[in-house]
């Protein structure tokens, strides 16, 4: 195995490979070390972990990702904690009370788990932020006004937006966690719990026909939000959660024609990721400085 040839090959395919790594010199240094100290048989796995580093972690590092996730979990935990505690919001004596309590408990568990994981990795978990559930970015006078915790339909619509955002946010960060298998697996385990929450909130919305819920299903159909509040600022914000979900092509395969399905089914079959920037744009109005 000629390492120089391998590096040349990679360079031909991806001229920016050394930008993804520290530098060509450092990459070579890693391998000269390996060559001296490890058997030849170990090189493929070392090369694999180097490629994982180059192509798996395009932005940020694991601690940044975990703190980003923690911020979202703080938001969800606070939202459900206040919602479950708000008198007269959730119809008493209905299964909704138990369901929303379950979700609240999961979000609090995620906060605690992420704080522990960040500390264990040598990082500093961010402090609990301040919130603005009027979606006013700290003005406490945003387009949702006081409806979030007084109007059940609005509460469920916000819950759906938060859960679907959470699903898309974790999905978008998975690639940045590949260098740590245990962290990646835990993030995937949170990701699918958020998807279960999202499905149930949607199930609840359909039963309650709340705020434009219509025939909302547990899965996302094209980029339809199924939230029509009549307030443009609210509807536009919620729409950002669903933009991009309408795609029907995956890895160059046209899902609709490949299986003879319509665009609704083809889009529902795959959830789409959001970038950190897209998620930040969605949730920023809910945080206060």
């Amino acid at each position: 195995m000629n390492l120089q040839n391998i590096f040349n090959d990679i360079e031909n395919v991806d001229p920016e490979v050394y930008d993804r790594l520290d530098s060509r010199r450092n990459a070579m240094k890693r391998f000269s070390f390996i060559g001296k100290t490890l058997a030849l048989a170990a090189i493929p796995s070392a090369l694999g972990s180097m490629l994982k580093k180059a192509y798996g972690q395009s932005t940020g590092n694991i601690l940044d990702v975990l703190n980003f996730a923690l911020k979202l979990e703080y938001l969800e935990a606070e939202f459900y904690t206040r919602g479950v505690a708000a008198s007269g919001l959730i119809p008493a004596g209905t299964p909704a009370v138990g369901a929303l309590t379950t979700i609240r408990d999961h979000e609090n568990a995620h906060v605690n788990f992420l704080r522990t994981a960040i500390t264990a990795a040598g990082g500093m978990p961010i402090a609990r932020p301040n919130f603005d559930f009027t979606a006013g970015g700290g003005s406490q006078n945003g387009p949702l006004g006081n409806l979030t915790f007084t109007n059940y339909g609005v509460f469920l619509a916000v819950a759906q937006a938060f859960e679907d955002t959470g699903v898309r946010a974790y999905k978008g960060q998975a690639g940045n966690l590949m260098s740590n298998d245990d962290v990646l697996t835990a993030a995937l385990q949170i990701h699918s719990v958020e998807a279960r929450h999202a499905a149930h909130i949607r199930y609840m919305r359909r039963a309650h026909m709340s705020v434009g819920a219509g025939q909302v299903k547990p899965w996302i159909t094209r980029n339809v939000s199924h939230v029509t509040s009549g307030v443009a600022a609210v509807d536009n914000l919620v729409q950002m959660v669903y933009n991009g979900e309408e795609v029907t092509t995956q890895a160059t395969v046209n899902i609709a024609s490949n299986s003879n399905l319509n665009a609704d089914r083809a889009s529902e079959a795959f959830d789409e990721p959001l970038t950190l920037q897209q998620v930040t744009a969605i949730v920023t109005p809910f945080f206060a400085p």
Partner: protein
């Protein structure tokens, strides 16, 4: 059964598949070169069994590396799709309009997943698997939804557990796009059986869930296939998958 051995395995050549073009061709070969080589050996060694008359079906080799993991997912999606197709061909008595709509949607999603993997894997794809649904009473709502719940929770645990085995971040994101839809299915099926059980993590502990941390199921391919094999007549050989 149709025995359509891995044609890529026979030729030993990487195919021009969508997954390949998704990454750069050269990068793809870097990841899958050993998979194709290993599969070639297995393909040759299996050929002599193709036309035998005994009852032992040769095991289908899932392969190695990322291709092996994608074939593993393809196998599970074949199982799910076959199940929901059969469910909707003759729905259980008393099925509601809403249940019928939900189950037809889920069937279509699983078909989309199955066909996607087949197209994406190209000539690296495993053959069509023969399923075994003898244990399922398709006339019974409890049997059908109980099986659906088992399949969906198993699927979630499979994708969650396999993420760490993938080398390509593109494939990881693709798996992520599918697993959350499987989790939505799982939640809905559970709610149909018992409203509010959508994320009953204690019940998912046998599949690796950690309720105290709010973590869903996650199992290794070996653990998943130990359960899935009860519904498959075609044996699978997962021994070459990464671990």
């Amino acid at each position: 059964m149709s025995m359509d051995p891995q044609s890529a395995a026979k030729t030993g050549q990487a195919s021009s598949s969508p997954l390949e073009s998704m990454m750069h061709r050269r990068k793809f070969l870097l990841f899958t070169g050993t998979a194709a080589a290993t599969a070639a050996l297995i393909g040759v060694s299996c050929k002599k069994d193709d036309d035998d008359n005994n009852n032992t079906t040769p095991a289908v080799n899932l392969g190695t590396g990322d291709v092996g993991i994608l074939n593993y997912a393809y196998a599970l999606e074949q199982l799910e799709a076959a199940f929901y197709i059969k469910v909707m061909q003759a729905p259980y008595g008393g099925i509601t309009a809403a249940e019928s709509e939900y189950l037809a949607d889920i069937r279509d999603h699983e078909i989309a997943h199955r066909d996607f993997f087949k197209a994406a894997l190209g000539s690296n794809a495993i053959q069509n698997l023969e399923v075994n649904f003898d244990s399922i009473d398709f006339t019974s709502r409890a049997s059908v939804l109980g099986t659906a719940k088992a399949f969906e929770d198993l699927g979630v645990s499979a994708y969650n557990g396999a993420g760490r085995l993938l080398q390509s971040s593109d494939f990881l994101t693709l798996a992520g796009k599918i697993v959350s839809v499987e989790a939505r299915h799982a939640a809905l099926i559970r709610d149909l059986l018992q409203n509010g059980s959508f994320a009953d993590l204690p019940s998912l502990q046998p599949l690796g869930a950690v309720p105290a941390n709010g973590l869903d199921a996650a199992r290794t391919p070996t653990q998943v296939l130990e359960i899935a094999k009860n519904y498959l007549r075609t044996p699978l050989n997962a021994s070459n998958l990464p671990s």
